[in-house]
Amino acid sequence: MKSLVQFFFKLGSPNWFYKVSSYLVPVFALLSIGLMSWGLVAGLLYAPMDFKQGNSYRIIYIHVPSSFIALSCYYMMALLAAVYLIWRTKMAAIVLRSCAVIGAAMTFIALVTGAIWGKPTWGTWWVWDARVTSMLVLFFIYMGIFALSKAYEREELGSKAAAILALVGTVNIPIIYWSVDWWFALHQGATLKLTEKSAMDSAMLFPLLVMIAATYCLYVLLILLHSRAEIIRSEQRKQWVKDLVK
């Protein structure tokens, strides 16, 4: 128990985070490059064609993983927002800012690939369908959080405002999650289901699972890279950062 408390205490120290993450960066870089090459070759070259949608369905191999990360990133951000507001941990605010950037980019990828996939499948680039609209709202929330975190002269004020917006924006998450069941519109239901058999053939499903694993590794890598850069920026007047420069 004592060591666990110590672990969380250390996790809050930018210096310790920077040192430990330097060992994790190459691990996650290799994992994401390896898994992603495997998933892309399997998905683009070997997975069979869909009999209804033709080859356009291959967009699923980036659309679904990026949508997953867009949501997971928000869970993590909301948690960090709570940690920051309760304990004022500086590291929580730093990782929160990284989450906002990465989450916005992932939501953007999900929206754009969805639009491109929609054209041959639904005959239109954009619909004001419940899921599509709630994802667009998520994108704006991410942008708002990032903008707020940079909007104040005093960094702590910006972090506090961003954390509050992140917590308030959590309302949108269940709406996105259940939108395909609540309002049955154009967007298809979930392809992957935890409790029942998935709606996809295993030859198509396998590359998707590899791509999801690859994207999660990429997500961890990006969190580490962005947080490390942000640590260096905000601690640049500290002696330990000065010592890093020869």
Partner: protein, 58 residues
Amino acid sequence: MQFNSLQELWFMGGHGSYVWSAFAITATVVLGLVLQPILKRRKVFADIKQRKQFEAQQ
């Protein structure tokens, strides 16, 4: 292998432009996400170095 030639892979039965543009946009965004923190860190390190040299001259 689902495609018999590179041309077939590129064309994807008429869906090539959709599939490849989606992958290209994603690759661009991901590349930007990876490069941005690396460049930012490099810039801060350069600033620190400059400040150090300035202090040494004083």
